[in-house]
């Protein structure tokens, strides 16, 4: 995972392979794990040491130990905000991903229509949906709705564009095979097209979920009194840097969790492509 962490969008297959090399128990893998742990100790320990030796003030950059202890002590206060963020993320992502996948499946059946709507999809993909949040807040208030809409708008197009790439990978031989047994259009979709598109759909879902997380936190920073994004603005305005970085740490963990979850789903259901 470490070596492929940066290339989220390029090739799931390779990513799957590199993580599956974990836990094979060989001498080399054990050595690798040892090196990974050693690097982590040196980086985190070195940071701790350097920050303490040079007496960097807490409000500029707190040492890792202070961040972790702040996160632990303030966790009961942060937990409800984490819950809010997760609700926003899950509902927005579910709506966006669902619509994105269905649209991709439908639109790829009509190459002509696909060409016409392509520029609009591109606009949706490239425009930061955060830009719409102030407008959405005006219309829907400070509750969940504007945030969920923003997350759906951010993740949906990502899921759609990748799923469409998957659905476009038509293998005429495999479709001919299904047709030779008298398969219906629906059967061809579920038994040939969809499985063939699955690896790309999973890439789309992963990128979409990570975009969703970014947008959820961003939207919470714009307005409203809850969510991890709101904690970030609050803690920084009160110069509570250990707590601030504690929330940042929590967000990184969420991001990594998203990656790992899709990684294992991919390993289970899309490893045939590796």
């Amino acid at each position: 995972m470490s070596e492929d962490g940066g290339v989220v969008g390029s090739d799931v297959g390779k990513g799957f392979q590199s993580l599956s090399s974990f836990g094979t128990g060989g001498l080399r893998t054990r050595l690798e794990i040892l090196a990974i742990i050693a690097t982590a100790v040196i980086v985190i320990g070195g940071m701790e040491l350097a920050l303490r030796i040079f007496e960097v003030p807490l409000y500029i950059l707190p040492p890792p130990s202070a961040i972790v202890s702040a996160l632990i002590t303030d966790f009961p206060l942060i937990l409800p905000h984490l819950g809010h963020t997760l609700v926003v993320l899950f509902s927005g992502f579910a709506i966006g991903a669902g619509v994105g996948m269905v649209l991709a499946a439908v639109i790829t059946q009509f190459p002509f229509a696909e060409k016409i709507i392509a520029p609009y999809v591109l606009i949706l993909v490239t425009t930061p949906m955060l830009a719409l949040v102030p407008l959405l807040i005006l219309r829907f208030g400070f509750g969940y709705e504007p945030r969920i809409i923003a997350v759906a708008l951010a993740s949906g197009p990502m899921v759609m564009i990748n799923s469409a790439t998957g659905f476009r990978r038509v293998d005429s031989q495999k479709i001919a095979l299904a047709r030779s047994y008298g398969a219906s259009t629906l059967q061809i979709f579920w038994k040939v097209r969809a499985p063939m598109a699955l690896p790309m759909i999973l890439v789309g879902l992963m990128i979409g979920a990570i975009f969703g997380l970014l947008t959820a936190v961003g939207a919470e920073m714009v307005g409203g009194g809850f969510g991890l994004g709101n904690r970030l603005t609050t803690y920084s305005s009160m110069i509570q840097m250990p707590q601030f970085f504690g929330v940042v740490l929590l967000l990184s963990t969420l991001g990594i969790l998203i990656y790992v979850i899709f990684f294992f789903i991919g390993k289970k259901w899309a490893s045939w492509e590796a």
């Binding site: 031989q173 299904a178 047709r179 047994y181 008298g182 038994k191 040939v192 699955l198 045939w272 492509e273």
Partner: protein, 261 residues
């Protein structure tokens, strides 16, 4: 059914295929007798594959028709099995799930004993849970043959099935097709550009001319089965090879063959 049926299993009648201005196949007519193997040979682009796909019902001819047991083929038919150029297995399914794919599509209960028997016949027993990418090209193509035969079709169409395999594997596969035929007597139409392969397998070889594809000549292959190395290396086989090559590569070679005897 016991007596020899006078009617052709497959009858190709003035078959023609046009793609716009391009004529791929023109006025092709020949018969495939029941329980025989017929090979179609010819240079690349002579419309062999076009013809086979028309037989499978996946493509419609623009002219003429193909009759199965006297009835025109209008679409995919349960009595016709198809083996593709590459094994064409679904990479996300293991071997057994690939073989069960036709039954899933048709909503039929698979005949497990028959499938098990076929798997044993092609020496794939024990590989049911393996994924295609874990197997060699020959093994994949064997699985594809099992898949095609699993529904007990009365006609098996094979479209250059061993073209991508190495020479040794190809010989083994030919032997296997012969064995399967001797057991099932399934009518087989076999597309190939290997004359050696055509002679080894067939009761009859149909030679198509280059674009547009027409039936140039037909040969009866009289050898007994199983066909041994001695038969295939004999004078008769040599002469047949020479004449078929003559048909394909031009009239000069053909004249030479006739002059020789």
């Amino acid at each position: 059914m016991g007596e020899y049926a006078a009617q052709a299993k497959l009858a190709v009648r003035n078959a023609g295929m046009r793609y716009g201005d391009r004529v791929a196949l023109e006025n092709c007519s020949f018969d495939v007798a029941p329980n025989t193997i017929v090979s179609i040979v010819g240079p690349s682009g002579c419309g062999k594959t076009t013809l086979l796909w028309a037989m499978s019902g996946l493509h419609n001819l623009t002219d003429g028709q193909i009759l199965l047991d006297g009835k025109p083929i209008t679409g995919p038919h349960p009595d016709i099995g198809l083996v593709f150029q590459d094994a064409n297995l679904l990479p996300w399914r293991n071997l057994m799930d690939n073989i069960l794919f036709p039954f899933e599509i048709k909503g039929q209960t698979p005949d497990r004993d028959w499938i098990e028997h076929l798997m044993e016949r092609v020496q794939l027993t024990g590989f049911e849970r393996n994924f295609p990418r874990e197997l060699s090209g020959g093994m994949q193509q064997r699985a594809a043959i099992v898949r095609a035969l699993s529904l007990r079709p009365s006609v098996l169409l094979m479209d250059e099935p061993f073209g991508a395999l190495d020479a040794f594997t190809r010989d083994e596969m030919n032997k296997l097709v012969e064995e399967i035929w001797m057991e099932t007597h399934t009518t087989i139409v076999f597309i190939t550009h290997s004359i050696e392969e055509a002679l080894f397998l067939s009761d009859r070889v149909v030679v198509l001319s280059p674009r547009p594809g027409r039936v140039q000549s037909e040969y009866e292959i009289p050898f007994e089965r199983p066909r041994t190395m001695e038969i295939m290396a004999g004078k008769e086989a040599y002469d047949l090879t020479y004449r078929i090559k003559g048909d394909i590569y031009g009239h000069q070679a053909k004249k030479l063959a006739e002059a020789k005897g």
